[in-house]
Symmetry: D2
Subunit: 284 residues, 4 copies
């Protein structure tokens, strides 16, 4: 099967970036199969993502990186170049609710979600059997108010040992310590069960019920130190009415949560998401 190189760039906008980069690729015989660009007028920043047929370029990834380095320097680029053959290593973190986990594992086994799920970490032992049935190691790391520091030291050690590229909080329900957020900035994805910025914090469906909203939602975002305030990747909603109890809202919400998380994670794994301050550019 053919594989691809993905070039993702963000830099100050100025004349000739596209010409320079597309020349560079054409000069190496590279066949671009997907191209996306965006100029942010407010900040004057430019973003691009190219997908290049790997076989069309007579170079290894390392050689290509080296060749591109001068171009990147010239335009003051933040950039990444990835080979789709090198799949990201993903650690999933869950608590007791299984809907997002079940959904992601289905997509991983049956739909070819493009990553290696290397481990599941949970503060409860409930979902062990289901996870192990999929052949994935399951780590139970209980978190209590007293043991929080040690627990998260253990979590961070596990993440390190598994060499995780991306951590997914698939309804993990625990707040990560600030240093973990910093060490894995842009690599930890959370699903929050509200249409942020409404109803940040705990029990958002109950907040939504009390406020009497007519739509509930879910938000997939990168985790930052400030709770539920990181860059938003994706959101969606579900219609509700006065007929619905908080329990109904929770049930409808699960469907939104798992869909939104799956979409956001897929885009992240395909290098379609570029963080820009506290916002995202998503080349969906």
């Amino acid at each position: 099967m053919s594989h691809f190189y993905r070039l993702v760039v963000s830099c100050p906008d100025r004349l000739g970036i596209v010409a320079r980069v597309s020349n560079f690729i054409a000069g190496h015989g590279g066949s671009i199969t997907e191209a996306s660009q965006h100029s942010d007028l407010e900040t004057g920043r430019f973003f691009m993502r190219y997908e290049i047929l790997a076989d069309s370029i007579g170079m290894t990834l390392e050689e290509l990186r080296e060749a591109f380095e001068p171009v990147a320097r010239e335009f003051d680029m933040q950039w990444a170049l990835r080979d789709t053959q090198q799949r990201q290593r993903v650690v999933l973190m869950v608590s007791r609710e299984s809907h997002c986990l079940v959904d992601l594992l289905y997509r991983w086994t049956a739909e070819g979600l493009d990553c290696d799920v290397v481990a599941v970490v949970s503060n409860h032992d409930d979902l062990r059997s289901m996870v192990e049935w999929h052949g994935i190691p399951y780590h139970h790391v209980p978190v209590t108010p007293e043991t929080r520091p040690q627990a998260f030291a253990q979590v961070e050690q596990l993440i390190g040992e598994y060499q995780a590229d991306t951590i997914v909080l698939a309804r993990y329900m625990q707040i990560l310590p600030p240093d973990l957020c910093r060490n894995y900035a842009g690599r930890v994805i959370n699903i929050h069960h509200s249409f942020l910025p409404s109803f940040a914090g705990a029990r958002p469906y109950h907040q939504a019920y009390q406020r009497g909203v007519k739509l509930i939602g879910a938000t997939c975002h990168y985790v930052t130190e400030e709770l539920d305030a990181g860059p938003i990747i994706e959101q969606d909603i579900h219609r509700v009415s006065h007929c619905h109890t908080p329990t109904d809202l929770v049930r409808f919400g699960r469907d939104v949560e798992k869909t939104v998380l799956a979409r956001g994670l897929r885009w992240h794994l395909e290098d379609r998401v570029i963080i820009h301050g506290n916002k995202t550019v998503v080349f969906a």
Copy 2:
């Protein structure tokens, strides 16, 4: 054309309400063409709305009201009984942006929005010609920080003179004084250009842009003294992306605003909305 009586009831929930009310109506030969009920489990309150073919009942509205009074007392009901032949008198209030006004006037002239639009009141004179072309009186009441009290005294006097049943803030952009909110509680409908409770207050689309949300929305709600915090009647959303500027958000938002306001107002005029604390029951 046949007309209808609409009976709207809210009362403490207990055994036999439906039996008692439907017996009462059947006992007078009344043919129910639409019936809606709701029991709120949290507060133990019961809500119902019946639409009854007027000709099937051998009584005037006043006689029917008198006959129903004992039933209402028995169950401690808050209730209203209206004849659809008596159309509500509506005053529209606008500022400079015309999209909601144009839309409501179209629905009123061409779609049979069931009310009498008796006047338009605005703090600007821009939309006079368009309104007067529709044969509706236009009142320009400028509002400045200095003249606010007098201006709103004049507004309230106009509303009184026109005997308005319902006031619609179709993007009026001014905060009503508390006593006006109280005097017309449950009768003033606003369209807020965000998905409340997100982005209450000024410039919500710019707030939404800054936060980087992926959906923008609009909220139709009853006006209360607390800004943008009244009972929500209806909400809807529109998808946006990093490509869109605040100007785009404003433009998309207009479509959502006018649709949401028109839906909310129609339900209100058809007695489908019952206020329940700071929430609504909407028999849509």
Copy 3:
């Protein structure tokens, strides 16, 4: 935990039905927790669904049925009275694609989908291990052009042995024989992977791709002898663009299919769906 009696009625519309039925229930001390009514103006037919707290009625289900019989006769009702303690027995039928099955089993184990999944029948053996892990018997009944009659005789025998109340075609991809459709009329639920009536028949996503539609959909409906033409229970859609290949459409579609099927099945199991000619009344 409290259980409920569900009374579902359809009959010719005429004066006094609601009064008669609600009187009957109130007369036996029955507490109605949910009530829905609908009059179809075109056909003059009336539909109702009541949920009654079982403990509020001093009668068994059988006694209540007997007591209601005269009322039903008086109004020429088609009716059913069920106890929520008697869960429906459901047979799931699948082919190779697992997304609907995985989703339904998740909802059944974790979300309390209100039924007993008594067996899975498939024309392939692929999903056996996953199904058996859930503790559900798996029957592999291969279907080839030559063995069709015998295969479906075996399927119908299995359904009979399991005393299935409801059969769900969770992407079964085989056309049921006419007599099976007739014998289980109103009890076989299918998910079709298009927004019917568009793209009935085979490979709907490829048809949609060829037509260049901007939305794809899925349809949950009762199976009748005429292919993809039975009463529709629920539909939903997903936005697509020129960027998307047929493979993308299939992937997006899966999410719509499983959500739509789960919604439709839940409503069916809760006696919220009444078939009315080739349409449905859904008291959602």
Copy 4:
């Protein structure tokens, strides 16, 4: 105010197109403010749209066209280069229903829909006063079975005299003759009041009601000789239920129709739509 050149290209896909075109633009100092590309894998065709700040290029539109000609020839391009200062001339055609017309005129006067509405043509005289109030000429060309040929000769003459670039059938309800379709291929936009390909032809909402669908829709498409079968530009839907009569469907549908038509027309006017066989590429 700054204006832009819009370059729209479609050609056989091959190596180096983007490099060649972006080089060309950069070579003339052109600042690209928006860029979109698409490769259709099935047909091997490539599409692109560039928006270029006109002032950044030291050339007139004509000079730029001449300079680009060799590039276009080299890659066998179908292409267009437009100056946003030259607004398209649009003729609107309507019948009796005004919702789409009112909406488009609102967007034109208040939202800066980027075109010149040069005339309205109708087979009825009903909407004359409203149109003329906007300062637009109104032509009443009645169409009867007997006068069809002469009527459409007159329509085509009017379109010719007004030098219309684009014709919008804003609920015109008459089938255009084949030669008119051919002469203005890719320039006549229709709004069909169903979710095509479902319910092509007459009275789609009544067809939808009879079929019992749970969503109704509208489709904006280019007109071709085959009725309701041209390339689709945009579609959207609205949820309905058993409660809704055909009249309700018509009413809900109007909101979808006008929104979908306005979106489709805006994209067309902004050169965002490229016809590709019987489909469209929409760089929205």
